[in-house]
Every structure is written in structure tokens, then in C-alpha cells.
Symmetry: C2
Subunit: 390 residues, 2 copies
């Protein structure tokens, strides 16, 4: 059997991003029993750190033993009972996915659609809420990874709560890179993933649940449709009871623990500012090279930038050359954006000046070779200027 030596690449796509080297080392610490007192101490510390990153005091704040999509399923199977009505906002792949997951959880779904690349309009949500006052939840994606839109949550959270509904928020691509205002907006159920702005491998889904949602889960009339993701049981393992549910993914918890320590050392605000600044430089560079951004400035997701592929340039060829010649991965478009856009992630550890300039240099080299027209050197100069000026 040949050697398995995965070459380190620079992952500037929609995730996974590169794992921090400290996180990779933590992964390989010796496996402990899932009820071992030393492991239990690591679990407790991890929940404490998760509260910091989620900006919350929510007691029920834990990592689910699956990837971000398992986080989405956890949110839906726990927050709706079969027959409940759910208003789901859809403006990309992950909104669509939420509809599918909610329906399988037994919900009757009312959609509020917005064009891909745009945020969901709160006025449309309000209209849907008024027409469906019996709905139990509003589901929305905070950071739509398929389009690069950061959805403002203030108004939609207000609408939900004014009408006695709970809000379920997908923060997979925002947590650790952008503020996720859990307590400030009293968001009821928020889930995320480890492999984006936390710079940890994929495999866990941090979730946080406020008291109102926890109360709902406790008093459900029906059992949760999923045994594996039933929070009423999982919380007894993560809480002081330590009641065995399933065997926790011990080494992945070490990795998450280390990833969260790194966030805390930097500080939430400094980390958000870093993500904003590096995106600003990236965008300045891309625009100076004549590329057009997909999303309006006020809705851009700092951790993931989307640009239209210049006319006459071959999508796959450019991405393949970036990977082969520069060892850089970026993301392709999905759904309606397939073949039309690129998705460039600057997430967690990867959001640095060095990566921005390296990527722009690589892209310039390739686009020049592909015959794109732009002023040579303008991209790098525009990005550098952003760093010099601040």
C-alpha cells in the first residue's frame, strides 16, 4: 500500500479551512474514556469556552457529535414537533437544505425566498409571519456559504419574538469570524461547525440553546425523531449527571478545546476585526483586477468572499492551476452560481495579510496567462494599500 501523505495545501475555499497546527497536535493526544474524570474536566472547559465564542450565558451550549449539517438537523428535530409550521428563509443552498431537514422532521414549511446573493428581506418575513401566525419557528442562515451573504439578524429576531415564534440560526460560516449575537438578540437555537472560522477539522457541531428553547425541548409532546441528536438526552451527558448517551468523539473534543482556546487568546472582537480587515484588502485587490463582487458591500460575509468569474476565463482550469501550481484551493459556485462564481474563504487562522497577498499574486499570474485584461500589479498594490493605511 502506498504512503498516505496528504500534502498541506492552503484551503481558501468555503471550508474546511486549514486546521491550526496547535489543533492538529491536540487531536493526537491520547484517547481517554468518555466518562474519565480527566476527560470530563476537558468537556466542562470546552462548554465554558463555547459560551465565550457564542457570546452567551446559555447553559445548554455543547458540541454535537457530527458535522455542521448534523447541527442543522439537531436544531430542526428538537425545535419542531411533527405537524408544526416552520417559516424558513431561503437564499442559497443552506436555506434550501434547512427546508428539506425541517420537512423530514415533520414540519409544514412556509418558504420566504430571496434571490441568491442577496439577504432575505425582513418585510417579506413579516408578511409570512402575519399570514402564518401559528408557525412555531423562523429558520434562517446567518452566513450563507453558497453566496457569501451575511444576513442581518436584528429585525428578523425582533419579528420572530414579537409574534411569539422562536428563531433558529445557522452560524456555520460565521462563528469565530463574525459576531454571532446569541444573547444580544436572544437567538433561540444557534448551531455551527468546527471547520470554518474555528480552524479545527470538520466533525463537530457546536450548538447553543436559550432557556425558552430549552423549556420547549423539555416539554415536547412527542419524542424527538432522532435518538442520536435528541438534546433532552445529550444534555444529561454534558450536564452534571454524566448519564451515558453515546461515546463522545474524544479526540475531536480535544481539538475543539484547543481551537476555542486560540480564539479566546486572540479575543472575539480582535478576531472579527481581523476577518473584516483581510477581506477588505482581498476585495480591494480583486476589484483592482477588474473582478466584480457578487454581494453588495453592506451584506458581505467577512469570512467568505464571492466574485464573478471574468468572461472568457475557464472556471475549472483556473481552480486546477491554483491547486497544481500554487497549492491553493478555492471554492466553485453551487446551484444557480455553478460555473459563474468563485468562493474565496479567509477563515480563522487563514485570514492573514500573507495569504491575501499570496492568493492575489497567484490569481494574477494565472489570469494573465488565461488572457484576462487588467492592469498588472494593480491588485497587489490595492491590497497592500489597505494594510499600509490602517
Amino acid at each position: 500500500m502506498r504512503e498516505r501523505n496528504p500534502k498541506a495545501k492552503l484551503l481558501l475555499g468555503p471550508g474546511p479551512s486549514n486546521s491550526d497546527p496547535r489543533v492538529l497536535r491536540a487531536l493526537s493526544e491520547p484517547t481517554l474514556g468518555h466518562l474519565d474524570p480527566d476527560f470530563v474536566a476537558i468537556m466542562d472547559e470546552t462548554t465554558e469556552l463555547l459560551r465565550y465564542v457564542f457570546n452567551t450565558k446559555n447553559r445548554l451550549t455543547i458540541p454535537i457529535s457530527g458535522t455542521g449539517s448534523a447541527g442543522m438537523e439537531t436544531a430542526l428535530v428538537n425545535s419542531v414537533e411533527p405537524g408544526d409550521k416552520a417559516i424558513i428563509c431561503v437564499a442559497g443552498v443552506f436555506g434550501e437544505r434547512m427546508v428539506d431537514v425541517a420537512e423530514r422532521a415533520g414540519a409544514t414549511v412556509v418558504r420566504v425566498d430571496a434571490p441568491w446573493g442577496e439577504p432575505v428581506d425582513p418585510a417579506q418575513v413579516e408578511k409570512a409571519v402575519k399570514a402564518n401566525s401559528d408557525a412555531k419557528i423562523i429558520g434562517i442562515v446567518h452566513a450563507e456559504t453558497s453566496t457569501g451573504v451575511l444576513q442581518p439578524l436584528e429585525e428578523i429576531a425582533r419579528i420572530a419574538h414579537e409574534h411569539g415564534m422562536r428563531i433558529v440560526v445557522d452560524a456555520v460560516t460565521s462563528l469565530g469570524g463574525v459576531e454571532v449575537p446569541v444573547d444580544r438578540l436572544n437567538l433561540d437555537f444557534v448551531y455551527s461547525g468546527t471547520q470554518k472560522c474555528l480552524s479545527c477539522p470538520p466533525g463537530l457541531a457546536p450548538v447553543t440553546v436559550n432557556d425558552s428553547m430549552a423549556e420547549f425541548i423539555k416539554n415536547r409532546k412527542t419524542r424527538c425523531r432522532s435518538w442520536y441528536l435528541d438534546l433532552s438526552m445529550i444534555e444529561r451527558y454534558w450536564g452534571s449527571e454524566r448519564f451515558y448517551h453515546h461515546t463522545a468523539p474524544v479526540n475531536m473534543i480535544y481539538a475543539l478545546n484547543e481551537a476555542l482556546r486560540i480564539v479566546k487568546e486572540e479575543g472575539n472582537e480582535a478576531r472579527w476585526a481581523r476577518h473584516r480587515k483581510n477581506q477588505k484588502a482581498l476585495i480591494a485587490g480583486l476589484e483592482a483586477m477588474g473582478l466584480k463582487l457578487v454581494v453588495k458591500p453592506e451584506y458581505r460575509l467577512p469570512s467568505l468572499t464571492t466574485v464573478f468569474i471574468p468572461e472568457g476565463v475557464e472556471d475549472l482550469k483556473v481552480r486546477r492551476r491554483l491547486l497544481d501550481e500554487f497549492n491553493i484551493e478555492i471554492g466553485a459556485g453551487l446551484g444557480v452560481f455553478k460555473g459563474k462564481i468563485w468562493r474565496i474563504g479567509l477563515m480563522g487562522t487563514n485570514s492573514t495579510k500573507a495569504n491575501v497577498l499570496w492568493f492575489l499574486a497567484a490569481l494574477e499570474d494565472i489570469l494573465a496567462g488565461e488572457g484576462a485584461k487588467f492592469q498588472k500589479g494593480a491588485g497587489l498594490e490595492a491590497a497592500s494599500r489597505v494594510y499600509r493605511e490602517e
Copy 2:
């Protein structure tokens, strides 16, 4: 924040077992994108190795992105449609869990119970099958981790297939330590976990599905109740389409890949023989110290031995002293066996002569201190004799 330095312990409980050092190193290899060509090659190799360990040619043989319990849920949500009847054999915690999971998947469950510590009686299964000829599946635990029973599968598989039913098998604690006869008995759906006899951290659930079950899944009348565990979608990612479903837990796949290479290097048959031999020595030692085994010889699970706690000896105190003084973890009893038995695992890398003798020496030291009556040195001598004689 204090250092997170989990001390390596000898995990001789019901799992997780110690991860092989090679597997821990693999975990910390650089994270790749989930669609990266280098990662895709590792995925393909991993499925090939899984087929070897599962003794199968089944095309649909993949690791699910969750722990062994997620494997159980995957089996049930895919193999039954709401309203289907399922015959579930129950002789311990994991049989009970299967009932719960099947009911949440929408099944009407018919139970076939057996006393804890005993196998399920095929005659009882046949009776249930005849009384419920409309049942779609028989669910059974091959290796019941709560009791240490290895369930013979031959007759039950025959009964299922003679009556046009499919058989769903839990092989969490057998795979990699005991033969799981997937193709030999044409088992329809088998799932396992990584943290037992594969000596890999918890976090993935290998599953294998035969053509009959794959056909059923393809032609279901209803959507699978779980989006995350819907095999009809997951197989499009693991198959040649590489259709994005969820982000694979990349580093855990490296670990599983390495764990499976280790199994293949040793060879299935040699590995099963090693597990049998070390259990034989362990049992000889325990019995020479006057301890009574829970399970009759012909039904003992080689990877997990269960013994009654000697009278007058305090369960928790002994386990605590083993951990504190000898750095050894063993398992407590669950359910009806709580406080009555110990569960001693010799799984994967941990199944060695050295561990058997170390454990017996530690147990003798502690039991002598707790006032148990037995002939000193008899346990070690009995175990040593097993190795000398063969």
C-alpha cells in the same frame, strides 16, 4: 488556563479502547478539502479496506460521520419506512436502544427478549417471525457490549431470509476483533464503530449494505427521516459522482484509514485468533482468582469479558484504585448489571499478553487489599500457562 495534558491510560473497559499510536499520528495530518483529489483517493482506499475488514464485496461500504450510535440510527432510518413492522431482539442496553431508535424511525416494534447475559434464542425469533410475517426486518446485536455476549447469527439470518425479511446487525464491539460474516450470511445492513477493536478514536461508524438492502433504500416510498444519515444521498458523495452532501470529517477518515491498514497488515484471521487467545488467558486468570464469569463459554465475546464482582468487594472503590494506582480503566455494569459486574475489554491493539498479565497483577493487588479470599499468584500462573501451552 491550565495545561490540557490527558495522561495516557490503559483503556480496558467497554470502549473507547486505546488508539494505536500510528492512528493518532494519522489524525494530525494536514486537513484537506473534502473534494480534493488527494482526499478522494484516501476515501476510495478506505472503502476498499473497510470491505476487507467487513469480509464483504458490498459496493455500499462507507464510514458514517458520527459515532457507533449514529451507525445504529443510519441502519434503522434507512431500512424501515414509517409504519413498517420490525422485530428487534433485546438482551441488553444496545438491544433496548435499537427498539427506541426503530420506534423513532416510525417502525412498529415487536420485541424478542432474552435474559441479560444470554444470547437470543433463535426459536423465539422464529416464533415472532411466524406471528408477524409482515415484518420487514429483524434487528439484532452481534456483540452486546452491556453483557459480553456474542450472538450466533447463523440461524437468525437464515430465519430472516427464509421469511423474506432483512437482517440489521450491530457489530460495534465485534468488527476487527471477531469475524463479522457479512457475505457468508448475506447480512443486509451491518454497522459498527471505530473506537473498539479498530483502535481508532470514536467518531465514525462504518456501515455496509448488501444489494438487497441497497435496492430497498433506492426504492423507498418515503424520504428517509434523517437528512444527515440518508444513505441515498451519502452514497452519491462516496461513489464516483462525488456529489456534495456534507463535509466529511477529513482527519477522522485519515485515522480510520490508518487503523484499517493495521488490521490488514495483521490479517483478519490472525487478529480474531489473537483476541480469542488473550481472552482465554484472561479468563483462566480470573477464574483461578475465584471470579465467576457472566456468560457461558460458547457465547463469550472475545473482545469483552464480563465477571461478577466478588461478594464483599466494593465496585467503585476497586475501579477507582485501578485507575488511580495502576492507570487502568475497566467498565462498570449497566442496567440490571449495575454494581454487579465488571466489563473488561481486550480490544484491537490492547489485546496483548502484556496487558492481560498487567491487569491480573493489578487486580490481585487490589482484591487482596480489599480482603477477598483467593490463592495468591494463582491468577497470573493460570494465565501464563495458557501462553506457555500454545
